[in-house]
């Protein structure tokens, strides 16, 4: 029983917060601003709790697994959710259904926790659904906007579709191997056609969730329609969680057919980077812009994943950590600006530096980090992903990845140019930041600068992933 509490501490903490919110909702309810502070505080505790009593072990047979690496991955996600609650505070205070919003978000987080910890395809599927369906409801949270409902609809349909594909793949695997346990499947795999078919189905489902090209079509519309809090949750937290479990399944379960998925990943990575980058160039809306750029970033994650060794795991986890800071900082700035001025286009950012220098510097840090320019952490993140991808010594692949960094720099510079250089008669007026937004942006900025320069972080993650 004691072991149960220690191993599942993060899940239990999140569940506790969900129930607390439920009671608040059923009871009299409290003011939104105090509720928000309370939730922020609880999320911080939840994040902090992840650092204590770290043990590895199994629960429920082979269903649930925890290792220090998994705990660390969950911490990254908790941190992300905490940051979102800070950065989007202005919008959150205004929503009519704040407790519901957090209940949904935390349910999704709980789903992700279980998903990362799963040791069996069945619980993996259940957790994945838990992590997806609440997000679709959240995407609909701008209740008066049609685009928001449209986005939610697109999301729920496409995820239902991908779940179907996933289930079909899982059933094929069960048919072939007679087991769903991660530990037992590899022994039964020998690369027969049916197995490859099953793998392709699984891969497609993951590709849907990670919006890997050519399964990315839902991404931009959903991102644009949803409120920014949800967009950032989708593009950072969801992506991170799926990337974590994807890499586990690839490396553990499908390790016997490593050659096959290596080739597939290489192809997918290349087209994802190229298409994501090319489409990002033309975007005007900042949310769509970040959506396509996040597709390109996923392409980079695939580059690291293709390594097939612990270097790949380290690089991916490290990158997701950096990505949480960088992308959330960018979304945070966008959220503040949208909330205050209602403007979402890149052209509206012209002359922003004159009025909001602090926001501009954070935005610049975030975008340079996403582009992979030192001294920001993104430089290290991308470099290590590419290094991991280079372990198989395919120079053409690495060169394509490196060249894609130029394209991505081009469109990130577009935003920076608008903010810092372009003149504008009536720029967005000076914005007074609320304390929690400021705190969130400062944490993100500090993370962007420090995670890379404090090199022990990488070594720490590496020691976990051995």
């Amino acid at each position: 029983m004691n072991e149960f509490f220690i191993l599942m501490k993060q899940e239990l903490a999140v569940t506790a917060i969900i129930f607390l919110l439920l009671f608040i909702k059923i009871g009299k309810g409290i003011q939104h601003s105090s509720l928000l502070s309370l939730v922020q505080f609880l999320l911080l505790i939840n994040f902090g709790a992840g650092f204590f009593f770290n043990q590895s072990g199994w629960l429920f047979g082979d269903m649930y697994q925890t290792t220090p690496l998994i705990v660390f991955q969950k911490n990254i996600l908790s941190l992300g959710v905490y940051l979102i609650s800070l950065l989007c505070a202005d919008w959150l205070k205004k929503t009519e259904h704040l407790p519901e919003f957090f209940m949904l978000m935390l349910s999704a987080l709980l789903g992700m926790f279980l998903m990362i910890s799963s040791g069996n395809l069945l619980i993996f599927y259940l957790a994945l659904e838990l992590a997806t369906i609440p997000v679709a409801a959240m995407a609909n949270f701008d209740l008066h906007k049609k685009r928001s409902s449209e986005g939610a609809m697109k999301m729920i349909l496409s995820s239902a579709f991908s779940s179907g594909i996933l289930l079909f793949g899982i059933s094929l695997i069960y048919g072939i191997t007679g087991t769903l346990s991660f530990a037992l499947i590899p022994g039964q795999l020998d690369g027969s056609t049916l197995q490859l078919l099953a793998f392709v189905f699984l891969l497609s489902a993951f590709a849907f969730k990670l919006s890997i090209v050519p399964f990315h079509l839902w991404t931009a519309d959903v991102y644009e329609g949803s409120p920014i809090a949800v967009t950032s949750f989708l593009s950072v937290i969801s992506k991170g969680a799926i990337a974590f479990i994807f890499i586990t399944i690839l490396y553990k379960v499908f390790q016997p057919i490593g050659e096959v998925w290596y080739n597939m990943l290489v192809i997918l990575a290349v087209i994802t980077m190229v298409i994501g980058n090319l489409f990002a160039i033309r975007q005007q809306n900042i949310k769509r812009f970040l959506a396509f750029s996040s597709i390109a970033q996923v392409g980079f994650i695939l580059v690291g994943m293709s390594s097939g060794s612990e270097v790949g795991i380290t690089a991916v986890v490290y990158f997701v950590l950096i990505y949480v800071f960088s992308n959330l900082a960018a979304f945070g700035v966008a959220a503040v600006i949208t909330e205050q001025s209602g403007k979402e286009n890149i052209d509206d950012y012209k002359g922003l530096y004159k009025t909001n220098p602090f926001l501009c510097w954070i935005l610049a840090l975030a975008l340079f980090s996403l582009a992979g320019i030192p001294p920001t952490a993104g430089f290290f993140g991308k470099l290590f992903l590419i290094t991991a991808g280079a372990t198989k010594a395919s120079f053409i692949f690495i060169t394509i990845a490196a060249l894609n960094m130029i394209v991505s720099l081009y469109y990130y510079l577009r935003v920076i140019r608008a903010a810092f250089m372009d003149k504008n008669e009536n720029p967005i007026s000076a914005i007074k930041l609320s304390p929690s937004v400021k705190l969130g942006l400062i944490i993100c900025g500090a993370g962007i600068v420090l995670v890379g320069l404090l090199s022990w972080m990488y070594d720490y993650i590496h020691s976990l992933s051995l």
């Binding site: 280079a390 010594a393 130029i406 081009y410 810092f420």
Partner: protein, 492 residues
């Protein structure tokens, strides 16, 4: 001496600039910090000399090695040899001059000086790194300052130029990245230059990696035909930005071509030496002829930079000890000279508000100090004995002549011919601006250089003269290091 000071001092200056309250404070902190850097560079130089004289024959001095990313075998490995010392001195000179020249900048002063100091820090870090990873880190760190300096404080089509520069340099970086990763895996997972210099990389790898690295660094140093960012970038940048770009940043590329590409991949260098020679000879001639057509002073200096930097690459391509020493001298000389050139152009532009040669004339009458400096730098550029340009180019030609076959001789002669063209455009530019009657009445009320401009110019002129009149010290500094590189190429 602790080399971390060279990174720490600029960093401290940059932070102090950020924390300062008003413009006056910003300027004085920046000046104080850059002078301290110059002093530090001199101290380093003299300690280094002392060490060498007392018989310390280690290839790198003051080495420090801290593990950075242990699991990937990335170390924070610092150390200097003669080449690094020369480059550090050059950087320190240009930084002080750049800070002084920008004294009257009004727009976002704090940000300007912050970025300027950061750019200098990147260069110091680059020249003292002995680990390819941190070398690459410091190379890339200058992208943001360069982009913002040109884009915000620049003139003309600044956004276009800033974008072009950032993207082309990023393209070069991408090639370098692939190259160093190739080296890393080919030589048993190490980024350490000293380890890599002892490792044997198989010939097929060298054949692939050398062009990647050389072209990658070549983009930074205007290797033909990848030089196109140079004219636009330099002419759009603010004065101090142009000085830093041409004086320091282009030298990063040359240093990388030599220390990383040629030194670590000697077989590759031999394989491709002829192509380098052809490209650099084209750059020298093309740059010179293109300069003839220019009417804007900044474009004149930018294109002539393409031509002058071509000499460094030619020296590297010749693969003899004298030529490589000359190439390094040319880097230092060109760095000082071109920084001074841009400084003078900036001073003239601040007064006349034009950079067009045709519109000016007779400046000597009203601006004697500036005009004199302009003369000196022009003469240095066309290679007058007694100034640094002559020493460097002469050394390169002598080194090139050591290769006795027809191909090398023809390339050398072709390159030498460009000096005539240089004389034509330099003398014409100087003659039209400085001499003759005053064409514009408003020039009668112009004031000569202020104290900060005088100081900046004098510092750089001192550097040029120190190399031009007594080149021995620079030669002594560079030659042993060049010998080390030659030993590696010769397979000793």
């Amino acid at each position: 001496m602790n080399l971390l000071l060279l990174i720490g001092l600029p960093l401290l200056t940059a932070v102090a600039v950020l924390l300062s309250r008003n413009k006056q404070q910003v300027k004085w902190i920046a000046l104080f910090g850059s002078v301290a850097q110059l002093a530090l560079a001199f101290v380093l130089f003299f300690i280094y000399k002392h060490e060498r004289e007392t018989g310390n024959a280690a290839q790198m001095l003051f080495e420090q090695n801290y593990p950075l990313f242990k699991s990937l075998n990335i170390n924070f490995h610092l150390g200097v040899d003669g080449i690094s010392i020369a480059m550090i001195l050059l950087t320190a000179f240009v930084v002080v001059a750049g800070v002084l020249v920008s004294w009257n900048i009004e727009k976002m002063t704090k940000e300007f000086y912050f970025l300027l100091i950061l750019l200098g820090m990147g260069a110091y870090g680059f020249f003292i790194s002995l680990d390819l990873f941190i070398l690459f880190f410091f190379l890339e760190i200058s992208v943001i300052p360069k982009y913002l300096l040109i884009g915000i404080w620049g003139s003309g089509k600044k956004e276009y130029s800033a974008n072009k520069l950032a993207l082309m340099l990023m393209g070069g970086s991408a090639l370098i990245l692939v190259g160093i990763l190739g080296l890393y895996f080919a030589a048993g997972r190490s980024f350490d230059i000293m380890e890599l210099s002892k490792a044997t990389v198989s010939l097929p790898y060298q054949q692939v990696l050398f062009p990647l690295l050389f072209v990658g660094f070549g983009v930074f140093t205007a290797l033909f035909p990848l030089h196109t960012w140079v004219p636009d970038g330099h002419s759009s940048a603010p004065t101090a930005g142009s000085m830093f770009l041409a004086g320091i940043s282009m030298k990063l590329g040359g240093y990388g071509c030599l220390r990383v590409a040629t030194y670590l991949l000697p077989e590759g260098a031999k394989e491709y030496a002829n192509i380098i020679i052809i490209l650099s000879a084209i750059a020298i001639l093309y740059g010179a002829f293109a300069t003839m057509m220019q009417k804007d002073l900044k474009y004149i200096n930018a294109y002539s930079s393409v031509s002058h930097v071509g000499f460094s690459l030619l020296g590297i391509g010749m693969l003899t000890q004298t030529a490589i020493t000359g190439a390094l001298m040319q880097m230092v000389s060109h760095g000082l000279m071109t920084a001074l050139f841009f400084a003078v152009i900036g001073m003239i532009y601040d007064r006349t508000h034009t950079r067009m040669v045709d519109e000016m004339g007779g400046l000597m009458k009203k601006l004697p100090f500036i005009s004199t400096i302009f003369f000196i730098v022009g003469l240095c550029s066309l290679g007058l004995p007694g100034l640094s340009g002559f020493v460097a180019e002469m050394t390169i030609f002598m080194g090139s002549w050591e290769n006795a076959d027809a191909f090398h001789r023809i390339a050398t002669i072709a390159a030498a011919m460009s000096i005539v063209v240089t004389a034509v455009y330099i003398l014409r530019a100087i003659g039209n601006t400085v001499m003759g009657p005053i064409k514009n009445e408003s020039y009668l009320s112009l004031k000569d250089a202020a104290w900060n401009e005088r100081l900046a110019a004098i510092i750089l002129v001192v550097g040029i003269l120190a190399i031009g009149i007594a080149p021995g010290w620079l030669n002594d500094l560079l030659r042993p290091a060049a010998e080390e590189i030659m030993n590696r190429i010769a397979g000793k």
